[in-house]
């Protein structure tokens, strides 16, 4: 070794010693949402695979499976988006500033940098003003977003990369997330979303709290928020599963809408249906959630699809015109798809039997499972009990009154002309004239004038 080489090596060793020890890696303190990080890495990998698959060929032909259409089952959905075993969290929001403004104040989506070193700053996303929790998803990275502490001086503009499709989800009401309260659906028609200084359009009619809280996730991109397509081509290419609806272009009010939903898996691995996902279907302002018929379905095969038959009883209404059929799997990262349907006025025959629409509280002697019947519910003292299928039913889910013994929101006073349907032998579902859903179980009638 030459003297100069030796000098260089001595110099290198001295410099290495002078550099000192590296700072310790700092693991973020455990947060209550951190368990959600459990599945995050999987989502990142899945998203990366999806991107890779999408980029690997100029045009792909997605095969369909040989399985038949999976029949529809009337199993109530859980409404939960968090228990499906798929990733829901990554710590960081990356990107630009996204500001949501609502009528009663500002909800600012913002973040700080999250660093791995103690020497640097930290990154988080925050959402404030009436929203209790939120998650952000950008470029395959997802993260739970803790509520901003009031007056937190460290909040800075958030960072969602506008060049990468992302999504945000909002939870405004925990009970709604559990599917327990379907009667308080508010529409934020005045919600304004600004991305990089430019206001971006929202879904027509604004965002309803049902969408915000129960559906969970909305796609966010330059194109807008919550704007879904009716075909898979309009879906975000980063999504792992896309949804397509096949439905009749028109339906007569009062009929049961039969349609098909195709889930297409763009990944190279099967998309499991375990735990069984729920989905939410909405026509007009009425919405219900069900579980997929997982008993008869298979995992959606890699690069393949699975078709599910769907049913949704409609209701008799004086209004007719175009309505949006909205369908979404209650699972993070999956967009809502929309299919416009022309609802025509009911013809002479409604297809119903057994109960007359104009009889108040008239007992229905016998009801067919799954068939929707017009029913006028006594509401003057609130919802107590009703008689149908030769039995007395007691309210099991939904608000019984407005807190003062009067009809609950969504019901007209004295009586309300809605519909009832026998969901199972011991479960009756009712919907009010204004679309509020309640559930009833067999029970005894109450005594007294309001019984």
């Amino acid at each position: 070794m030459s003297d100069f080489e030796d000098r260089l090596r001595t110099w290198g060793a001295t410099e290495l010693a002078a550099a000192g020890p590296a700072p310790a890696m700092r693991t973020r303190r455990p947060r209550r949402w951190q368990p959600l990080a459990a599945a995050a890495a999987v989502l990142i990998l899945v998203a990366a695979v999806a991107v890779a698959v999408n980029q690997s060929g100029s045009k792909r032909v997605l095969p369909t499976t040989s399985f038949d259409v999976i029949p529809w089952v009337d199993t109530p959905g859980t409404g939960s988006t968090s228990a499906l075993g798929r990733p829901t969290s990554v710590p960081d929001c990356v990107g630009s500033d996204l500001t949501l403004t609502r009528g009663d104040g500002d909800a600012v989506f913002s973040s700080r940098r999250t660093n791995f070193l103690s020497v640097a700053t930290t990154t988080r996303c925050y959402l404030s003003a009436g929203v209790t929790a939120a998650t952000a998803s950008v470029d395959g990275h997802r993260g739970s977003v803790p509520v901003r502490d009031a007056g937190d001086p460290q909040v800075q503009p958030g960072t969602i990369d506008p060049d990468h499709p992302g999504s945000m989800s909002f939870e405004t009401d925990e009970s709604c997330l559990r599917g327990e309260d379907l009667s308080h659906v508010l529409t934020y028609s005045d919600l304004r979303v600004t991305l990089l200084g430019t206001e971006i359009p929202l879904a027509p009619g604004g965002l309803s709290s049902a969408v915000l809280s129960c559906l969970g996730e909305l796609p966010v991109s330059r194109a807008g928020i919550g704007l879904g397509g009716s075909t898979s081509e309009q879906n975000d290419p980063l999504r792992q599963v896309t949804t397509t609806i096949q439905a009749p272009p028109a339906i007569s009010a009062g009929e049961t809408l039969h349609f098909e939903v195709t889930l297409t898996n763009h990944l190279s691995d099967d998309y499991p249906l375990d735990p069984c996902p729920s989905y939410r279907v909405q026509l007009g302002h009425l919405a219900e959630s069900f579980q997929l018929n997982c008993k008869q379905a298979h995992p959606v095969p890699a690069m393949g699809s699975e078709r599910f038959a769907m049913e949704l009883p409609t209701w008799v209404t004086d209004a007719s015109g175009s309505e949006d059929l909205l369908w979404t799997l209650l699972e993070p990262g999956l967009p809502q798809v929309r299919f416009p349907i022309e609802v025509t006025a009911p013809s002479g025959s409604s297809g119903h039997s057994g109960c007359a629409a104009d009889t108040v509280g008239e007992p229905c002697a016998s009801m067919e499972l799954g068939t929707e019947y017009p029913y006028s519910t006594l509401t003057h003292c609130g919802l107590q009990s009703l008689i149908a299928d030769g039995r007395t039913w007691r309210l099991s889910k939904g608000l019984s009154d407005d807190g003062n013994g009067n009809p609950p929101p969504g019901y007209t006073d004295v009586s309300d002309d809605g519909f009832i349907r026998l969901a199972s032998e011991d479960l009756l579902r009712a919907r009010s004239s204004q679309g509020v859903l309640t559930e009833w179980k067999p029970g005894e009638s109450l005594d007294g004038p309001c019984g």
Partner: protein, 160 residues
């Protein structure tokens, strides 16, 4: 089929921790103390985002992470005017003046030569790993080091 529960932070930390010192040293050496934290942070963020693209068959974790640091340093160089950072020397060398002369001369090397010197003499990486970090063949590393030594001898007026 159940929920796969993993802790990405913990796993990532375990992935990075053994090489953090090397990353720290290289960031310090190439970007200087003032920008070291930012460079290292950016490299770690990049590593976190691209972690799933790391392919052990194409190189070691250490070289992959050092590539990220090197890339960040290069971007840092582009964004700032060249300055001479002063940093503490924990244990002063015997010949402080000669040491500083050599440091100044190395700081003036072209970026590729400087990177090769830092990797080879400071981080003490084998030539093969230097090649992985620099994205070139081992022969290129050796010739780059040879060019660097030649330039340093010339600057320092050391006879061949």
């Amino acid at each position: 089929m159940g929920v796969t529960v993993i802790e990405p932070n913990v796993v990532f930390e375990g992935f990075v921790a053994p090489h953090l010192t090397s990353m720290w040293v290289l960031a310090t050496r190439l970007a200087g103390p003032s920008a070291r934290d930012d460079v290292l942070q950016e490299a770690l963020m990049t590593a976190w985002r691209r972690w799933d693209t790391f392919d052990p068959s194409r190189g070691s974790a250490r070289t992959w992470l050092l590539v990220l640091v090197s890339d960040r340093c290069r971007k840092h160089w582009r964004s700032v005017k060249p300055t001479e950072d002063l940093y503490d020397v924990a244990s002063p060398p015997v010949d402080v003046e000669a040491h500083l002369d050599l440091s100044r001369a190395i700081a003036q090397l072209p970026p590729r030569q400087r990177l090769a010197v830092e990797l080879f003499y400071v981080l003490d990486l084998p030539v093969a790993e230097c090649a992985e970090v620099m994205g070139c063949a081992t022969g290129t590393v050796q010739s780059t080091l040879s060019d660097a030594r030649k330039a340093l001898r010339s600057t320092l007026e050391v006879p061949s």
